[in-house]
């Protein structure tokens, strides 16, 4: 369903309608354990009628960052996340480089790019193969859709020559948690890729060698050759993963006609760009449009399959933080920090640079305020709409944006305007392979998941390019990785990056050499936001409302697998423990955690 198409809303659903069953999953995420999905399901029509996403945990980084030394920001904000903390460090460093007026040495940017590429490979692999695929494993499908599993047993896998598994059911068996071959191999791969990360950024997941001004990594040739040898170790795994993903996801479309509607919403995507091009990037706001477009993942806002902009200045000025259903007081009466950007453009009072966080704890009320997440929106000055952008779990928006913009052109990755071509070299067992990710027809659960594995290939191919660029500099004797600087009395900065699961921005205001205002906006506030002050639902809510139910179980033993697939496709950090509440007053005491498989209920 889309935000624009008409559909039943709260007003259309008669309260107490006996056909509707309330079902809730709370908490869903592991890292902060704070995402809840509350739904009303019509089991006769077999679809979700209403959905609210809620967060019950307040973090308060924007509150306690005030007054701190800005050089500490990267180390503190890293702790926002336990899996992609380095994305925060990197983004904070980008914002600080701008605020301090630093152009770091070129080699430092290649090293950060290499670290971030390893992070994407690691995190996407861990999430996809160890958490998402549990929902598509033999154990789960046997429990939720036995007829689909029967069909999978007799369906030949089209890419069997690449991954070596004869039927779709064989692939599903390899997804089985703790037992499946892919599940176990993915754990090994996530170890190797974390080692790659540590070579570049010192420590996972809170880097010890990434600072404003550069890095503390010693750029010895062996650092890069160690990285390269580990990268080549996982190359064949990536090729097999892509083939298995394509086979299973294509099978789901075929076996369950209409499955493209699960988790579907209008194409409203945001990507803030990743992998700086140090030959162009000088971290100055005045030139941000140019170096933003030179990034090796192109930033953009995409609506209905069309690019609205690839200009980071436009993207920055369009960000609005709305309230509406959040536990905060409005900051309309507070003084703004930044009235104009360095180019002289006016900065809105609802922009993160001007935000003041005023928490107001209160009882959860789905007719009023029900979440600690605010509602970030992107203001489209042409249409006057506040767009509820999602990130498609990160990879989907990154590939979509890069493909559509058609700017990226490297020896291993090329954007064509409608697709991204990724060349992977020969590995231990498999030959050289050229993969192509095409812009799909839908923004739905399956395409978000499919994009994730293709972005693993994208990051691996980019890492090859970065390691070659870095080695070229080291071979020429360039080992400078840090640029000294002074902290100014007053400055502003903004950093734009891609956390593994999507857009990431850090906005910084410095006064008297201290932080006066600091607002990180990671992907989950965009994806998991509640209804905003215009009543527009957040992306999770929007994608789940109207999702059809394909699960064969009835209300009594309902797993909510289609809803979970829709939510998890957005990569809401690491879903693990899920417990279920049935709204008729009966609490299901049995905790079921799909991570452990359907048989471990």
């Amino acid at each position: 369903m889309t935000t624009t198409a008409s559909r039943p809303t709260e007003g259309d659903v008669p309260k107490g309608d006996s056909r509707l069953v309330e079902m809730a999953w709370d908490p869903i995420t592991r890292i902060v354990g704070n995402l809840g999905i509350y739904t009303k399901i019509d089991f006769e029509d077999r679809k979700v009628v209403e959905c609210h996403s809620t967060s019950s945990l307040f973090r308060g980084y924007s509150v306690f960052m005030k007054g701190k030394d800005p050089r500490d920001a990267g180390f503190i904000t890293s702790r926002i996340c336990g899996i992609c903390g380095d994305n925060h460090t990197t983004c904070s460093v980008y914002a600080q480089n701008m605020a301090y007026g630093i152009k770091p040495p070129i080699l430092a940017d290649w090293i950060i790019n290499l670290g971030e590429a390893a992070e994407y490979i690691f995190d996407h692999t861990l999430f996809q193969d160890n958490l998402v695929f549990v929902d598509y494993s033999e154990a789960m499908v046997k429990d939720t859709n036995p007829s689909v599993l029967r069909r999978a047993e007799s369906t030949e896998a089209p890419n069997a020559a690449v991954h070596g598994l004869r039927t779709i059911a064989d692939i599903m068996r390899s997804f089985n948690p703790f037992e499946g071959d892919l599940y176990k191999e993915a754990l090994q791969v996530s170890r190797i890729t974390r080692e790659m990360f540590c070579l570049m950024e010192g420590r996972h997941v809170h880097p010890s060698t990434v600072y404003p001004g550069g890095v503390g990594t010693m750029p010895s040739p062996s650092v890069f050759t160690d990285y390269l040898s580990k990268l080549m170790q996982v190359m064949d795994f990536i090729k097999r993963s892509v083939a298995m993903n394509d086979d299973v996801f294509d099978f789901f479309y075929e076996a369950l006609p209409g499955y493209e509607e699960v988790g579907r919403r209008r194409v409203l995507l945001g990507c803030w760009g990743a992998f700086q091009n140090p030959d162009v990037c000088d971290y100055r706001y005045e030139t941000m449009s140019d170096w933003g477009r030179a990034m090796y993942v192109t930033p953009s806002v995409i609506v209905d399959g069309k690019l609205l902009t690839t200009d980071l200045v436009d993207i920055n000025l369009g960000i609005r933080i709305l309230l509406g259903s959040s536990y905060y007081d409005d900051w309309a009466a507070e003084d703004p920090f930044v009235t104009h950007d360095p180019l002289g453009n006016p900065v809105d009072h609802r922009h993160p640079w001007n935000q003041t966080t005023l928490p107001t704890p209160q009882k959860r009320d789905f007719d009023g305020n029900y979440s600690w997440v605010m509602s970030p929106r992107w203001f489209d000055k042409n249409s006057g709409e506040h767009l509820a952008l999602d990130t498609g779990g990160g990879a989907f928006a990154r590939l979509y944006s890069t493909a559509l913009a058609g700017i990226v052109d490297t020896p291993y990755v090329k954007a064509t305007g409608s697709s991204v071509q990724i060349s992977l070299p020969r590995g231990g067992n498999l030959p050289e392979q050229v993969l192509e990710w095409h812009i799909p027809k839908w923004s739905n659960a399956i395409e978000r998941n499919r994009a994730r594995v293709y972005f693993v290939a994208y990051a691996a191919a980019m890492a090859l390019f970065f390691v070659e660029k870095a080695m070229d500099r080291v071979r020429a004797g360039d080992t400078k990785v840090f640029q000294d600087f002074e902290v100014p009395d007053e400055a502003i900065g903004c950093g734009f990056h891609e956390a593994v699961r999507g857009v990431l921005s850090h906005h910084l205001v410095i006064k008297d050499k201290k932080i006066a205002n600091y607002h990180p906006y990671p992907p989950t506030p965009w994806n998991g936001s509640p209804r905003d002050s215009f009543g527009t639902p957040g992306p999770y809510e929007d994608a789940i409302q109207g999702t059809p139910i394909f699960e064969e179980n009835g209300p009594d033993d309902f797993r909510g697998i289609d809803i979970m697939r829709a939510v998890r496709s957005f990569d809401p950090c690491l879903p693990c423990g899920v417990h279920m509440y049935v709204g008729s007053g009966k609490t299901v005491q049995k905790l079921h955690s799909p991570m452990f498989g359907a048989n471990h209920g």
Binding site: D69, R71, D72, P105, Y211, P212, G213, M218, S220, P221, V474, R475, A476, G477, D478, T479, K480, F482, Q483, D484, F485, E486
Partner: protein, 69 residues
């Protein structure tokens, strides 16, 4: 741990970073003062070791001087 005689520290080891008197790695001209680092971004073996550093430098002037570790 070997008993190595060291001088009295100027500040307590747990003094927070950015305390007045503690040298800051990012301070202006810090790069030029660091031994073994050259202004043009290259380095020599003194960056990595003080023990016979010249033996670890490149053996020919046309070769890049990559510090040992």
């Amino acid at each position: 741990m070997a008993e190595i005689k060291v001088g009295k520290p100027d500040v307590a080891p747990d003094t927070t970073a950015h305390t007045k008197g503690v040298p800051q790695g990012n301070r202006k001209n810090a790069y030029e003062r660091m031994i073994g680092h050259h202004r043009d971004g290259t380095a020599d073996a003194r960056r990595s070791t003080g023990i016979s550093p010249k033996e670890h430098d490149a053996i020919l002037p046309t070769m890049p001087n990559v510090p040992p570790a």
